[in-house]
Symmetry: C2
Subunit: 430 residues, 2 copies
């Protein structure tokens, strides 16, 4: 085995073949939970190229440890995450070492390798964490401006608090599902413009929202806020998220307490949690913040944003082609994850391992960088024309939405894979 | 042992002495979780008068069973609740039978009785359930009208959707605490009227909200709504709840996504879960609903409200007297629990055992029946004068809020005990 290297070093190579455009080279090593038909008990794994490394096997064999007791033979990352950042870092470094091209330990032990490395094509990926609390922020200035322009007043699109605090709300944790889970179109109350009374039925304005989300690894106790400078230490990693939204239900229900049924029918996340450590090389400065935030939201300097390229693909029902309908970047977000978490806890609110915190829809400046159909079609006014000729204002039954995201290194990518979901028709309510 | 009787029969008596004004006669039998200094592992108990019946002991001794495997030797009611309503009912009937004055089984087995019946004065009461999701509704017409009058427009105090659907939002589950837990005054952003910029500091408008909450016993899978006529079958029981609120933080943050930090610093619930079965004799008709709700919210007839008397007491810092500042009744709520749950799940949203669903602040018509200081002092305009002469607009450090509630039978009460909490000063943020 060679010398210990920074697991983010672009020069690292694995004995596992990894394509140049793979999201999962040795520089990434995201954590997830998987099972196989032959071994249906979910356990923790790491993605490497087209393979999954079974950490429960390595832990049993004594090649990997995360402390006094086993943490990887279980149905979520929560136990592992509560061990704290030093352990996350050491485990990632140890996994990196075991996968290096010049380390014979796993590479040359064929029996072990065949048990520990399984093709991703043969596994089922599960929700990677048990989510106690799900919070969604609203931190894209472009998105908030677009929505405010459409539903309120283009001249005063941003509400007065928006530039002073990262607006957020509590979402419904129980209905967060892993990529690939179909999403059933919700029934609900809506009141179309001009109608005298509300009506009940399937949503006619079903939409996606392109988001990322971070996952708390180490929480804070009730009454002990997390200072902005410490916030990243509490974040284990990030996923892609599709915050499916029923716009017609939302518009009728949301005053004065915020979205409820319009978002509670399903929220999809990608299966692999990319650690904040793996994203470190892709730090960039975020947007300038003017007016300057209050002291509890001020970063101590440094680059608080990340250069993550994001895309949304839409495969219309009956078609076999995917049209990319949005290209944007995480770096556009006005409020950083550290600011979001500092604000979330400044009241004394506690957080726990597994809490999921969404960015809010990520839109850029250009019309093809908007992160929702609401914005891309300007509330249905300007239909999208997809490859093959299909037109869409909002989602139709059978449509599939596929979001992806990655950081581009020189010759490699640190990526998230994808979060995908297909729309099922509403069930009749008896 | 006598014949099997309806556990709600007013004629039932226990061999345990119970005062006439006790909240916990044999007709109640609420479930909670407790521990003792000598046996610090939390387990499930039932309140009877001034005693706690240890169900884990009875289960071990074979006097009580809730199915194939033990459920009472654990730190929450969740395992028991997932067994379903038939089991809840049978266990309550069995406990009732064991506590009857004419059943010698427990009464005359002194050794067992001393292990199974412990004085409540010597136990610590814990949060009774593990709360996956916490939802808060806004179902008091009087409260919504008061708030709308103060903050928006007295002529159009109710927003257009309010009479058509039970407005609700997702709260923060992690900071729900059991009665007796002190509540720390939160820091946060506020923008006083007339100020040019927001400021940071301790909330100056800390308030209580008098609520009840119901607890889901048997959930529903994602995509399978609960019809209004089936809703009560999913509800295990009810507690009292104080939804502590920082009004100045709330007013600045709540547009457009609802309350967030203004409520996330702590929500208190009473320790004993009163089963819906025990409340059955106190059913009454709720308010007339005009306009008639959409079909998915229509009850099949029958009395959907409950006659639960509610009071809020305030013990000012430094004083030793409690002044009752609010007297109201759960029966005033416009939307029933069944309607709330049917609406919550009509989108397909799933629920799970332990989910907590608050009523929203319960206010009556009269000025002394309002369930918050915001309403009682009309946003600080009309201070309350307490016994002893102390004046209050909002809560001061050291103040204690004590809420109680009970149903009055003839010669007995089926009650909730209390939910109490004292305000601690804000901690300095480093």
């Amino acid at each position: 085995m060679g010398t210990v290297m920074n697991p983010n070093d672009p020069g690292l190579r694995s004995f596992v073949d990894v394509a140049a455009d793979s999201h999962f080279p040795i520089q990434n090593l995201p954590f997830g939970v998987f099972s196989m038909e032959a071994e249906p008990r979910p356990r923790v794994g790491v993605a490497i190229g087209e393979w999954v490394l079974d950490l429960a096997v390595l832990e049993r064999e004594g090649l990997l440890t995360a402390g006094d007791s086993p943490v990887f033979d279980g149905r979520s990352l929560n136990r592992f995450m509560t061990r704290g950042r030093e352990v996350w870092r050491r485990v990632r470094a140890d996994v990196s070492g075991l996968l290096r091209h010049d380390n014979p330990r796993l590479r040359d032990d064929r029996a072990l390798r065949e048990r520990a490395l399984v093709p991703v094509a043969g596994v089922r990926l599960h929700l990677p964490v048990e989510i106690g609390g799900y919070t969604d922020f609203y931190s894209s200035r472009e998105h908030a401006t677009n929505v405010g322009s459409m539903f309120r007043d283009p001249a005063n699109a941003l509400l007065p608090n928006w530039l002073h605090l990262p607006v957020g709300y509590n979402g419904r944790a129980s209905s967060v599902v892993v990529s690939g889970t179909p999403i059933r179109r919700p029934n609900g109350q809506t009141k179309p413009p001009g109608a005298e009374l509300p009506a009940f039925g399937p949503s006619r304005k079903l939409d996606f929202e392109l988001e990322t989300a971070f996952i708390i690894g180490e929480g804070n106790p009730l009454g002990e806020p997390i200072p902005v400078g410490d916030a990243e230490r509490h974040i284990f990693g990030m996923v892609l998220m599709n915050d499916w939204s029923a716009r017609d239900i939302q518009q009728w229900e949301y005053v004065p307490l915020g979205p409820f049924n319009a978002k509670s029918f399903g929220t999809s996340i990608s299966p692999w949690v990319v650690t904040l450590d793996a994203l470190e090389p892709f730090r960039v400065a975020g947007p300038a913040q003017e007016p300057e935030p209050l002291p509890y939201l001020r970063h101590g300097g440094g680059a608080a944003a990340l250069d993550i390229r994001l895309e949304v693909g839409l495969r219309p029902a009956g078609g076999d082609g995917v049209t990319v309908v949005c290209r944007t970047n995480f770096r556009h977000l006005y409020w950083s994850m550290a600011q979001q978490l500092a604000h979330h806890t400044v009241s004394g609110c506690d957080t726990q391992a597994g809490d999921l915190m969404g960015s809010g829809t990520i839109s850029g400046h250009e019309a093809d960088s908007f992160g929702s159909l609401l914005e891309l079609t300007w509330n249905g006014r300007d239909p999208l024309v997809l490859a093959g000729g299909a037109r869409r204002t909002f989602l139709e039954d059978g449509d599939e939405v596929i979001m992806t995201g990655w950081c581009q290194g020189i010759g490699y990518r640190v990526g998230f894979g994808e979060v995908a979901g297909r729309v099922l028709p509403t069930l009749e309510v008896g």
